[in-house]
């Protein structure tokens, strides 16, 4: 059964691209203000391809942080992708490992949200997921470089650019709220995350809060047998 993966993949990636344009431009502007050239911006967007860590890295570098601190922060900020890949893995059983290795490169919050939902629904496959990932990737690289080029034309903090990332996460969270148990777990995760963020410096609070909240949610779901209800 051969289904053309390209058109559906690109179509499904379109909202991600729309979301990436303001965020990518914002990143490019900030990176340019921090002294990065368009080439370094293109390099970072191609090699790392992880918006939130790119934002954080650039602000750390502008603040004079050491290389090791930047790299370790990127590791912890992006560690959540490990969990997302694990969730995706449950839906990609026995797929070709070379393809999976390419697919892994494109696992981001946004591509995860859409690919996971679609794969779960059943009208999706790894090929379409790959097309989606790389369409979004191209859009990201282009947006960030464009931001770098036009950055000097845009004053800092203008047009609500600082909020682009937060707005994106709000929408991605909304995509995930598909059952009452998940909503409850998200609330616990959020509250726990705030407590840990206030208590522990650095970014470890993200993974800690997520893992603990998911475990609590698992317990609640199993005990009340509400796991597969919406």
């Amino acid at each position: 059964m051969v289904r053309n993966p390209i058109l559906p993949g690109v179509k499904a990636a379109w909202p991600i691209c729309l979301g990436y344009i303001p965020i990518g431009l914002a990143f490019g502007v900030l990176a340019q203000k921090a002294g990065m050239t368009w080439f370094q911006i293109a390099l970072m967007s191609s090699i790392v391809f992880a918006g939130s860590s790119q934002f954080i890295a650039v602000s750390m570098l502008a603040g004079g942080s050491a290389a090791l601190a930047v790299i370790m922060t990127a590791f912890f900020v992006n560690l959540r992708h490990l969990l997302m890949s694990s969730s995706l893995a449950t839906l990609l059983h026995n797929e070709h490992r070379g393809k999976l290795s390419i697919f892994a490169y494109g696992v981001t919050d946004e591509s995860f949200a859409i690919n996971y939902t679609r794969l779960l629904a059943g009208d999706w496959d790894l090929n379409r997921s790959l097309v989606l990932n790389h369409t979004a990737n191209a859009c990201w690289i282009l947006s960030t470089v464009a931001g770098g080029f036009f950055g000097h034309l845009i004053p800092a903090h203008s047009l609500g650019i600082d909020y682009a990332l937060i707005a994106m996460f709000i929408c991605l969270l909304v995509f995930q709220l598909t059952s009452r148990l998940i909503v409850l777990t998200a609330v616990i995760a959020g509250m726990l995350s705030v407590v840990l963020a206030l208590w522990i410096p650095g970014n470890s609070y993200i993974v800690l809060a997520s893992v603990i909240a998911a475990t609590i949610g698992l317990g609640i779901g199993r005990l009340s047998r509400t796991f597969h209800e919406t």
């Binding site: 729309l18 694990s86 909240a213």
Partner: protein, 106 residues
């Protein structure tokens, strides 16, 4: 400086790629136990929430609790818009516009 940037970028790339890759490479060959799969269904929402909430109610260096932040107030209509439209691009634009307006009005 430019050489350090390239080194940092490559290193960031590695520490980002490996966590994305490892579960896909390893876990897709095994059938995972039910409780683990159930746990994993809760992870995406937990991670996104854990990322989001501190950005809304904490700030500064060192971090402190602060609910008088425009990030929080703007989040409410943004969230409602996202719930209503499920549009990623739309939500981002709405959030940015509202945040920009809040800067003008407050």
């Amino acid at each position: 400086m430019p050489d350090t940037y390239v080194f940092i970028i490559v290193a960031m790339g590695l520490v980002t790629y490996i966590p994305r890759w490892l579960p896909l490479f390893i876990l897709t060959k095994y059938t995972l136990p039910g409780w683990f799969k159930d746990w994993l269904t809760l992870i995406p929402a937990s991670v996104l929430s854990a990322l989001l909430l501190p950005a809304l109610v904490t700030g500064g260096d060192p971090r402190h609790f602060d609910i008088m932040r425009p990030e929080l107030w703007v989040a409410v209509p943004t969230f409602i818009f996202a719930l209503a439209t499920k549009s990623l691009g739309g939500t981002v634009v709405v959030g940015m516009v509202l945040f920009w307006l809040s800067g003008k009005l407050l």
